[in-house]
Symmetry: D2
Amino acid sequence: MSQRNIRVKATGESAVEDQDVEIVERKGIGHPDSICDGVAESVSRALAQEYLDRYGTVLHYNTDETQLVAGTAAPAFGGGEVLDPIYLLVVGRATKTYEGQRFPAESIALEAARDYLDETFPDLDVGKDVIVDVKLGEGSGDLQEVFGEEGTVPMANDTSYGVGHAPLTETEQIVLNTERSLNGQYGDENPAVGQDVKVMGKREGDHIDVTVAVAIIDHYVQDMADYRDVIEGVREHVTELAGEYTDRDVTVHVNTADDYEDGAIYLTTTGTSAEQGDDGSVGRGNRANGLITPNRPMSMEATSGKNPVNHIGKIYNLLSTEIAHSVAEQVEGIREVQVRLLSQIGQPIDNPHVADAQLVTEEGVSVGDVEREVEAAIDEELANITDVTKNVIEGKLSTF
Amino acid sequence: MSQRNIRVKATGESAVEDQDVEIVERKGIGHPDSICDGVAESVSRALAQEYLDRYGTVLHYNTDETQLVAGTAAPAFGGGEVLDPIYLLVVGRATKTYEGQRFPAESIALEAARDYLDETFPDLDVGKDVIVDVKLGEGSGDLQEVFGEEGTVPMANDTSYGVGHAPLTETEQIVLNTERSLNGQYGDENPAVGQDVKVMGKREGDHIDVTVAVAIIDHYVQDMADYRDVIEGVREHVTELAGEYTDRDVTVHVNTADDYEDGAIYLTTTGTSAEQGDDGSVGRGNRANGLITPNRPMSMEATSGKNPVNHIGKIYNLLSTEIAHSVAEQVEGIREVQVRLLSQIGQPIDNPHVADAQLVTEEGVSVGDVEREVEAAIDEELANITDVTKNVIEGKLSTF
Amino acid sequence: MSQRNIRVKATGESAVEDQDVEIVERKGIGHPDSICDGVAESVSRALAQEYLDRYGTVLHYNTDETQLVAGTAAPAFGGGEVLDPIYLLVVGRATKTYEGQRFPAESIALEAARDYLDETFPDLDVGKDVIVDVKLGEGSGDLQEVFGEEGTVPMANDTSYGVGHAPLTETEQIVLNTERSLNGQYGDENPAVGQDVKVMGKREGDHIDVTVAVAIIDHYVQDMADYRDVIEGVREHVTELAGEYTDRDVTVHVNTADDYEDGAIYLTTTGTSAEQGDDGSVGRGNRANGLITPNRPMSMEATSGKNPVNHIGKIYNLLSTEIAHSVAEQVEGIREVQVRLLSQIGQPIDNPHVADAQLVTEEGVSVGDVEREVEAAIDEELANITDVTKNVIEGKLSTF
Amino acid sequence: MSQRNIRVKATGESAVEDQDVEIVERKGIGHPDSICDGVAESVSRALAQEYLDRYGTVLHYNTDETQLVAGTAAPAFGGGEVLDPIYLLVVGRATKTYEGQRFPAESIALEAARDYLDETFPDLDVGKDVIVDVKLGEGSGDLQEVFGEEGTVPMANDTSYGVGHAPLTETEQIVLNTERSLNGQYGDENPAVGQDVKVMGKREGDHIDVTVAVAIIDHYVQDMADYRDVIEGVREHVTELAGEYTDRDVTVHVNTADDYEDGAIYLTTTGTSAEQGDDGSVGRGNRANGLITPNRPMSMEATSGKNPVNHIGKIYNLLSTEIAHSVAEQVEGIREVQVRLLSQIGQPIDNPHVADAQLVTEEGVSVGDVEREVEAAIDEELANITDVTKNVIEGKLSTF
């Protein structure tokens, strides 16, 4: 056993699954806030990768500030158009000179942002519908230093914390997988389904309401009947999908604000409400685990765009979620685990000030029964903390 | 008693004051994120007031997106200078035409933003150190409608929630009041103390560490000895202040990253790190109660800049805090109360889907003993919900 | 003969071909000012065409203001890179609502600008090396009216004038064709030759100096020897080309500011100096005939981007050049003709206040001998004035 | 007599004063193009002065690119308002690091631009009606070198030329002084007269039409009668003023596009058409002598904002005008003189490749009679060429 300060205890609360009311939300990848998260994280990955390729190490940068200003659009059955482009301002800091050589931080950021939009939004014409602007300054002098030696664990440069939990409740699973499916296989097969999907799950006792707002893409629907078919298709699909995760009673609502008589429906040209009226920015939507969970402690940290080598808030939020899942999967007898990591300035990040796990155990299992196993699982994940950095840079870990 | 759905129950957790580890943070008004919060809220107030003055009602707008791109500065003992101005982009939506008349939303926003900066930052030369840009689009057509009839309670247009708690723990009080004092009377008397004050409180058992990072303004310090005097002054002041709120053992740390030998100190020309290297945006810092409290449930909602007439997230976050304070003050026997309000789409906002209060009572007091009083206090606050709107517009309620 | 006020007379000056000193300049299509001209004119054509397609008529717009802010680049033998993208701001006015329907002026402008850059600059990666921003406002209310009835001649809405001359002197021909060849067939065959070609011709008596500054594209040159080969190739090509237009003594200078010893050469990554240090804007470079000719009267008018339906300055500058060429080609005995058109507010544009032609005739020919023919040629061109508009929209008439 | 290459000869043309048709134009200081000229030149002066103050020498910079994007306004009798602010982008190059010290080029530019607007436009509320943005890059590496030694004459770094003439014709004097008076004493006494004054003079034979377009400021006119009084006052004033410069027949037209019946008048809130619909940029309006004179050779050079130490185009345009005036004043018997200066790369700028003066002499005077005197006057001015730089920096020489 390591010397790490790991604490395991029971939570005083009941498991979220047992609470009376549970609310869960996910803003899909096409929501204006998520667009900003996605752009910021893409820019971050591109910079990190290029620093690695050129210098063998990731230099200082932080690109966790992207501002989206909505455009104006005139959607129409059969295909409308964007009138005023969306404006996207990528903001942050990056090291622009290293060992006397200039580094093309702004060009890389511009390209990464455009490429991300291009790949993610098939009905957004990036050359016509979006203005991508970039303002990347340089950091404070002393922050431009290279991060540590290769292979060593960086030091925490701030007091920060991360929080994660596992396993997901039924409602959380439904919300998360609804969005993933609509933006995954179901979306591929039904191109009318836009990327701006917002899912809210509300469970009261044993009834779950799943409310889905999905931007329908005008090009693929010829009239109101088509539109209603698409909506009904989504409703059926989500209902079926929810059944895979729960035996509770589920009601699915899709685009409830629609008013067919007035013709007020959620029709878009590009698949995102950013085309008309909805601004966005980084860190305002999903937490690092992809959800907004008011029933759980959440970190304020804007994870997307942060430097994954030494930004302790980013690393600890991602890692605490990883740890929670490891514990929940490896250790038997656990109904729910919440992990918090608190950093200690000036100490290696694999050695947090405290790592605490709060457990809800299954009936008949005491915290004492599983304490050692939980500690061991946490300890092992902390020992491999630099994997988080690696996985983030390689795009294997989502941040929103 | 009203028909409102108010629930009162005991929390399962121990009071935060009794938990082993407590972390509390406040970003002062000069922190780049808070600058954005402050600008967004100023712009919001100015728009609301002008809509009221012209039309007798507040029209649709939302200005909860301000992006700050840091400048570059060369601070120096006795007075340095800003090299590249800070860039501030005010973003949002506003009704620009009403009853055939154009409304000067952008000019109002520009002026409000500049005025706020001018009043808040005595050492920031707004005409030279800041570029203020504005991009206010119009909202979706149907959202431009006027909000309700005068004197009626608006309907909730979204499923959202707010959360608040009271009373503040000792650590919370210390953190909040440290910043307020440094940016208040102490700051007035000690002009070297800049507005960018960041306070973190960490309590472990009965020991509280208060870590203060304060931007010192170069114009008022002639040399390193002066600087050290200022820092020592702050340390003593905060230590004394903390003693007013706790009998626990308190250690105060000020500008711990300073390295006097290397000359690496926290010196600024304008009093904010936005002058060099720190970007910011709305909703990334303090919650509506002015604090970041990982030990408590928090809402992700960016409160600043939102329309206070119908933005249910803003109203409920502010109101739940108000309610918690009312309960804690009015009802005897309560150690801690946490209030959550969940909205119900299409219903008047004074009639939430559920208002729940979780209590930690004093020894010898049961929830049943105080339930009725708590319900009554909540009910009364809900009945006066439109006061929140009024107080926000008049600047009487802070949002960050 | 029409009633048009056409005056023909002898000029008092000697023919430019006979003057002691003659200076002629052309900024190639890759010069930052020309980039702006080209973008502005592309945007203009795209708007005009789309108005025609949608409404059968060209609505009010003016896009004669594009600002280019240079980027930063690190060219290198074998291929360098752009560090900070070029920033291009397309500015102007356009009708955005017509008969209750919104017109996508900004999206069209954005796409036209990007497409132009993409087609014109093979080594500029538009998605990575350029930020294209657009700010198109609406015009004054009364200017948004549709221009005239189909098939009628618009009225002049301003007092303006245009000036043109023909035939080109030898020096003018050499300068014009040098750039066209380097940006034409020679450039196609020699991809190392960038689009930013600046040609200055200076004739003193019978000696012509042709000074060419050409941005060499780093990707195609591996070392200094390669570079020198490219330069020598250009020198030989231009020398040969000049011989086609003159029997005078010609000296060609290419990239005279190069210093091979210091390694200070004109190497670029994208083929334009806009990548590093040279800003640009519309109307600052070539006149409507493609040249800058200090020996001749020139109009200050920024022709590119102006509305070709009713902008009298644009039309008259293009038309006066067309007329001069017609006269010079059709009427025998003319060595040089300069045409000026002065508009008359409120009158049809085919009926200028005055159209005057100043002639230098060949020896033995008097103005009286050719006066009628010249008048007839001018009259005919004026009668077909709406062809100018048509040819501009179709891209058949260059404006810079 | 010096070794300078000065040539004096007769012009082949008749004096402009004798030509049939003469056109002269001046865009007043409030015209959008002139606003840009004024801002660019203010920024230039501020930078030059600060370089001098800090380093004793002017470093490389060029700020000859300012782009104005018009705002939107709702003028109204008694006082209207700006709805969307004017956007002004100051663009250029400046040395930002010298001898290891950073130079605050952008902050200086921002302040100079704002101050200029503030001082020049009493009814423009710079904090509310204008967004001033700045993008100043650094120049090419080798251009950042300091210009020459103190007291020495810089070398020409380009082949460029300048052209000037004197004395002004009657029409030129009327046009120039009309604008100066309206923006001078008359404007001071009649605050309803805005700064955006555009004056066009057209002389045909002995009749001069002076057409004045003047932006009237709404705050000072209560109704249409007031407005008409202001217009009539201007008409009378200009008519009287014109009488001081000519005995010819003069007709003055003011705001001819007004239509009192439709209420279509030239009313503004700020005194400039930049508030609504008219964009602008540097170098698109007046030449260095303050006029646009199609009857004369003009240089395309955008003089405002250029570096006055070594930008040969700026210096030669200003100096050639100075020389022409010296010659016209000092040498008797001259009706008109036009001076052209052509630079010689690599040679001191006081030693142009050629300085030629073309004369129209008074009856009875031959060019030979005055040749020596003209040469001497030119020679003396060239010897004092560095005074131009000094006077520009001190704001004694206007550039537009």
